[in-house]
Amino acid sequence: MASQNADPAAVSSAAALKAAETGATAARGAVGKRLQQELMALMMSGDKGISAFPESDNLFKWIGTIDGAAGTAYEELRYKLSLEFPSGYPYTAPTVRFLTPCYHPNVDTQGNICLDILKEKWSALYDVRTILLSIQSLLAEPNIESPLNTHAAELWKNQVAYKKYVRETYNKQTKSQET
């Protein structure tokens, strides 16, 4: 930091110019670094019921899995999700979707998830691990007030029927995916 003795105006304008030139690549590098940190943290954490890994060489697209928590309607069911990180990550939330069709009041038929921390409540502190844990707990505790799947929201009141229906749809979908 020898430049600190230089004229502040010159330094800042030079820095601004440099930031403008290398902004895109530098930002991408910083995002990649953070994603690497997250991957390492996630693999070391050994959290049960969640996992995630970059889909290919592309660090900006991950595939995650969530196991339904024991004692809930989603017990013993495993769901695959895709996580796409924008170049503005972690300042903007990643796009998270269910790949395995999920019958849930806050998940639509396309797999889109209605979760506040993925939208307006997003914070730069959240990472893949907290997102997956949040979705895992969303499975057990849906927000019935603003459902994407009204059928599921209605059926939620009858837990026995709900659990049965979740299992039926899950088995049907996974079978049709296998064949």
């Binding site: 600190q4 953070r34 390492m40 943290a41 954490s45 300042y91 730069a124 502190l125 691990r129």
Partner: protein
Amino acid sequence: MASKGPTASASTKSSSTGGTSGSSSSNGSGDNTNQDNTFECNICLDTAKDAVISLCGHLFCWPCLHQWLETRPNRQVCPVCKAGISRDKVIPLYGRGSTGQQDPREKTPPRPQGQRPEPENRGGFQGFGFGDGGFQMSFGIGAFPFGIFATAFNINDGRPPPAVPGTPQYVDEQFLSRLFLFVALVIMFWLLIA
């Protein structure tokens, strides 16, 4: 770089035992790796550079926090605890080894400087086209004698000393100045006889 591994593992261990709270300030074991991650930025998860601390006690790199604040100017909250936060409500941290005591907030890399060109800096390349606006304005106002003086002034003064002859701009400039001088004379004449 090799030390990153154990650091990351220690951080996740402490946070997984300590619930979902992001602050990894548990000083339970005094080993070095745990000590390190206490000073990690909450946004880039790396050791905080140009560190600032919020009034709620959360540590960030200033560039990281600055970008976070820029992302949502209407709702500036601490990423960790969602307390109110702003540029003026963070405290820069100066460690012993830090170079200089410059406030990190003074150098905000992601933000380009505001553009406010000085009037005389409009010279250089644009100097040749300098006259157009000025001339029109002085005549438009109707203070034509001053306009003429101003014109003469502008030509002799406002332009950079060697007005590279031969360039199209030079030719245009010469033509324009003569044209405007002629127009000025015509108007003056017209005023005299009117």
